[in-house]
């Protein structure tokens, strides 16, 4: 496995290997954070923080094969902390900046991503780790520190919500509830 070799080389003293590791997994790292948060600048911050932690701690990783779960646990925790802390960042809509050429495909993709973004963070994270990071249920449970059953349950729930949002005609007796809410100012 290529990643395994790079990590072993770095742990054995080849300092150039860290750059190779960084560039090899940058897209997946950035993509995980961006798909959770939806903010470019914040996602880049998380990439930087995650790799700094990795750089400081990777020598202590006894089993390089566990790198993926170890590293993405860091990325997910950083993303969650930023996601729940309104003090840290001004939230902004960055999905539009990812636009390329084909408008129909873009609208469709943005629509799906928008629906994914409305999922609660635990559901969204499981979805991203499963589909984007292509992790197994077992790996996801190790990243999130929860039972495999919990991962399966969240995955099922997330898919069910997206199914009803994206393919509403396929759902029998689906209803949307609206609440009128207000604040006295």
């Amino acid at each position: 496995m290529e990643l395994y070799d790079i990590i072993l080389r770095y742990q054995n003293g080849d300092s150039d290997s860290f750059e190779e590791l960084y560039k090899n997994i940058y897209r997946k790292t950035y993509g995980t954070a961006f798909n959770i948060l939806g903010i470019k600048a914040a996602s880049e911050d998380i990439v930087q923080e995650a790799f700094i932690i990795c750089y400081k701690s990777i020598h202590r990783l006894k089993n390089p094969e566990a790198f993926n779960t170890w590293f993405y646990r860091i990325v997910v925790r950083l993303s969650w902390r930023l996601a729940k802390d309104p003090l840290r960042h001004t939230w902004g809509e960055d999905f539009e900046s990812q636009v390329s050429d084909n408008t129909d495909q873009i609208c469709s993709r943005l629509d799906i991503c928008e629906k994914i973004r409305t999922l609660k963070i635990p559901l969204r994270t499981v979805l991203i780790l499963y589909y984007f990071n292509e992790m197994s249920v077992k790996e996801i449970s190790q990243v999130l520190g929860c039972l495999e059953g919990t991962v399966k349950s969240r995955l099922f729930k997330a898919r069910k919500i997206l199914q009803s949002e994206l393919f509403p005609d396929s759902i029998v007796n689906s209803q949307k509830k609206f609440k009128e809410v207000g604040l006295n100012e």
């Binding site: 560039k23 897209r27 798909n35 880049e44 700094i52 309104p86 999905f95 991503c113 994914i116």
Partner: protein
């Protein structure tokens, strides 16, 4: 793979558009961060790879660079450079005089603090109540549409520890948040647990939602000093406080880098009251939220929360 699976996979993947140049730029930025953070490590790395004559040259070059830094840069950079030369770790702390906060730069060895850690938990109110020793209920909905987003548990130490020992405690404290055995092992530091519920209201005219937190922790301070900020929450005496607090850049997740000068934020309001030897607070977190939750709204939130509590 079903149509839905393909759609999700494709969308998440195509959502990420990164060029090789962006990856290279990112790595350069990371390398700069690492080289800045190395500090006293950097001469050590040079020693590993260079021969004797080059070691002397490298050390002299370092010293020259530091001297130039001292001569021509901002106060914060000079302070950091002095740290390297004198091998004394200096950190920025805040000292409070009345309502004012002052930033002070002092050796880390002279600083003691009472640390705390927190994490999101996925346990019920009943289980949280067992951990904190007090029956608590976080209503799912409060104040006409605020929905409970997260439950948090935090753990603090009532006994001060030195700043330099802080990192030694962090892992132990994090383990003790939910684990009673680990909690009891910290008993000589007088640990306490508290809990928070984070609420969010999504308004149609508001882009990102309005947030507040309801927190409680064992009573630790005498609020009589804030008598001029007193308000009434039904029959209970409360205090509406504008809290000033330091915001440090992060060194690692959730860990403030106190070697950098913090910014003092003032956009934080807290409605505090005491009940059953506990401190309760409705905390409105930043400027955007403050404009949407004023004192009267916070009092109504507190009243509703109090009414929702179990007997």
């Amino acid at each position: 793979m079903s149509e839905l699976d393909s759609l999700i996979k494709k969308s998440l993947s195509e959502n990420i558009s990164i060029t090789n140049l962006e990856v290279d730029d990112s790595y350069l930025k990371f390398e700069e961060s690492i080289n800045l953070k190395k500090g006293s490590l950097y001469p050590f790395l040079i020693l590993k790879i260079l021969n004797y004559k080059k070691i002397i040259f490298a050390s002299a070059a370092c010293l020259l660079c530091l001297s130039l830094l001292l001569a021509g840069t901002s106060g914060d950079v000079r302070a950091a450079a002095l740290d390297v030369i004198n091998n004394v770790k200096m950190i920025f702390v805040t000292e409070k005089t009345g309502d004012e906060i002052k930033i002070v730069h002092k050796p880390s060895s002279e600083v003691n603090l009472q640390p705390y850690v927190y994490k999101q938990v996925y346990i019920s109110d009943v289980e949280i109540s067992k951990l904190i020793g007090y029956k608590i209920k976080f209503p799912d909905l409060i104040a006409n549409g605020f929905e409970l987003q997260e439950r948090l548990l935090f753990l603090g130490l009532n006994k001060e520890i030195s700043y330099d020992d802080k990192n030694l405690f962090t892992n132990k404290m994090e383990a003790a948040i939910e684990n009673q055995k680990e909690f009891e092992e910290l008993s000589s530091y007088n640990p306490y647990r508290g809990t928070s519920g984070l609420y969010k209201y999504t308004r149609p005219d508001h882009k990102f939602g309005v947030y507040f937190q309801i927190s409680l922790w064992p009573k630790q301070s005498n609020l009589e000093a804030y008598s001029k900020y007193q308000v009434k929450i039904g029959d209970i005496k409360g205090y509406w406080l504008n809290v000033k607090y330091p915001v440090y850049p992060w060194m690692s997740p959730g860990q403030d880098n106190m070697t950098n000068k913090p910014a003092i934020k003032e956009d934080f309001y807290r409605l505090v009251w005491l009940q059953d030897d506990l401190t309760f607070a409705v905390q409105i977190l930043n400027e955007t939220n403050v404009k949407n939750i004023n004192k009267d709204a916070a009092i109504e939130i507190a009243k509703e929360f109090i009414q929702a509590q179990p007997d």
